[in-house]
């Protein structure tokens, strides 16, 4: 059985349209302009992943919030669960960009890291 799926690559702003054909248990992908598109398509067909960003409150910082993200994309079907898990979480200043905020976030194999530096309030 052959099945065909069309995907739009989200790796870069070019947004290539990709064709994926399923035959005898393997996907053949075409339409990508670079290797990252091929990897995106294979991931998307097998186990889609997404990057997710949010902000957490900082206590005693020069700003009220610090932005965070995982250090690698997480499974797409975990995005809402992952967001809900951060309810009530706050950090203490100072926070350094790149600092690990939560190690092995929800056992997903990624660390949640700070994406900006927040010094203590003067």
């Amino acid at each position: 059985m052959t099945s065909v799926r069309e995907l739009i690559c989200i790796v870069c702003p070019q947004g290539c349209t990709l064709q994926a054909e399923h035959q005898a248990d393997t996907w053949t992908v075409s339409g990508y302009a670079c290797k990252r598109g091929l990897h995106y398509a294979l991931d998307e067909l097998d186990a889609p992943k997404r990057m997710v960003s949010t902000s957490l409150p900082v206590v005693g910082g020069e700003y009220a919030m610090v932005s965070v993200r995982p250090d690698a994309p997480i499974p797409k079907d975990m995005v809402m669960t992952a967001m809900q898990s951060l309810q009530g979480v706050s950090l203490a200043a100072p926070v350094k960009r790149g600092q690990v905020v939560i190690e092995n976030w929800l056992q997903m194999g990624v660390n949640l890291i700070a994406t900006r530096t927040v010094y203590k309030a003067r």
């Binding site: 790796v11 870069c12 702003p13 949010t54 902000s55 993200r69």
Partner: protein, 420 residues
């Protein structure tokens, strides 16, 4: 009034201004000043906490704050001077700035100026939506600031007018925070933002997109209760009989950006009506000698990477001006024709020995399109594109060999038959 003298003053400490300062520094300027109205550098990147920044410039996928810090660290680690929480309220064609801050007013005399003020959002007043004036109507950027920097939700059930990137990004952001986004409404027949944002912001969360629709009324007293949505015709006028109400407590407006050019007007700079920004040469010099402009003050860019690139180049050009390497070539016009909505630069120098790089936007989506550049009715360069969309900036490189005579250039783009 306080007095200050610098070689180069940069108005704005966002991505364009930061890159301009670094470009001028690398070109050997010692005496550089960045003037920024916020308490922190980074501009709008501070609130753009999503990823997708830096793929071209830094070869890695970063969030806005990370991308900004990469440049801020280089600026802070150099001798570039900063005036934060300082507003430039005046600029003359002789490159004298008036700066106001908590210490009073300062007159800054300069040899060169780079304008990097960015843009601001079009608000409700600019698009004239009838109805009452309840709380709950925000521009998308204001909502982004509230959610990402201040930790407040603008509401619980939102309708978003406008499908540009900011509207799409905010749709996803509100869903992640537990809000319901009932619809994204777009007056044009095609979405305004990048395709990747349609996929990862709307499709992923099953948010409906209504093309060729608009919001025709806002209801509620005290707080938004509902909006009326109607289909529009090709002239963007609402079609009678198509209106329906959608309950919501929040309306976000993502209806376009306006380059912030009050200072440019004060200095008497020539403004391009299509871009809303100053008319510039390839080195991003405006119609006033020694005043340069880069980033979103010039035209609204899709990607911060191209803003940074333009900032670096404008900074280098400003340094060359201060160092006395001034252009002696005559400049000619670059005139947008069929299929072209906007084009930068608007002037080029002749004679020239370098490639002329044009960036701009098309009027409507095209397949198998051909750009033609002609001078005095004679075609000097053509360039093919598979797909063009108004939401994505195009770029056309004209080789120096094609610029072998003086005269204005006419640029057009139209669909042609595919030869594949």
């Amino acid at each position: 009034m306080n007095r200050l003298q610098v070689e180069l003053a940069i108005v704005g400490g966002g991505p364009a201004g930061l890159a301009a300062a670094l470009g001028a520094k690398q070109a050997g300027l010692k005496n550089i000043l960045i003037i920024e109205r916020d308490a922190h550098l980074g501009g709008i990147l501070q609130q753009c906490i999503h990823s997708g920044f830096g793929l071209h410039m830094l070869g890695t996928d970063l969030t806005g704050p990370e991308y900004a810090e990469h440049f801020i660290e280089q600026v802070v680690g150099s001798e570039i001077e900063l005036m934060l929480e300082s507003m430039v309220t005046g600029l003359t064609a002789q490159r004298v700035l008036t700066v106001v801050n908590r210490y009073g007013a300062t007159k800054v005399t300069t040899q060169a100026v780079v304008l990097a003020m960015g843009c601001r959002e079009r608000a409700r007043g600019a698009i004239l939506i009838p109805g009452s004036r309840p709380a709950g109507v925000y521009t998308a950027g204001t909502a982004q600031r509230l959610v990402n920097l201040q930790g407040f939700l603008p509401g619980r059930e939102a309708v978003i007018l406008g499908s540009g990137d900011i509207g799409l990004i905010m749709a996803r952001r509100l869903v992640l925070e537990g809000c319901k986004v009932k619809a994204v409404i777009e007056a044009m027949p095609w979405p305004g933002g990048l395709t990747r944002n349609l996929v990862q912001c709307l499709h992923d969360y099953d948010i409906p997109l209504y093309l060729q629709h608009t919001v025709t009324a806002i209801h509620g007293s005290g707080r938004v209760k509902a909006v009326t949505i109607a289909q529009v015709d090709e002239q963007l006028a609402p079609i009678p009989g198509t209106a329906f109400d959608c309950t919501c407590d929040t309306l976000l407006l993502a209806v376009g950006l306006i380059p912030e050019n009050e200072l440019s007007l004060q200095a008497g700079l020539m403004i391009d009506e299509r871009t809303g920004g100053p008319v510039v040469t390839p080195s991003r010099e405006t119609s006033a000698p020694g005043i340069f402009a880069c980033g979103n003050v010039l035209q609204v860019h899709d990607l911060v990477d191209s803003v940074s690139q333009e900032g670096l180049e404008a900074g280098r050009a400003a340094a060359a001006w201060v160092q006395g390497r001034r252009a002696t070539a005559r400049s000619y016009g670059i005139v947008p024709g069929e299929g072209i909505r906007s084009l930068v630069p608007q002037r080029y120098d002749y004679p020239t020995s370098s490639v002329l790089s044009l960036v701009g936007r098309v009027t409507h989506p095209m397949q198998d399109a051909l750009f033609t550049v002609s001078r005095k009715g004679v075609c000097v360069h053509t360039s093919r594109r598979k797909h063009l969309r108004p939401g994505e900036m195009f770029s056309v490189q004209i080789p120096a060999a094609a610029l072998n005579d003086a005269g204005d250039l006419d640029v057009a783009v139209r669909e042609v038959e595919s030869h594949d």
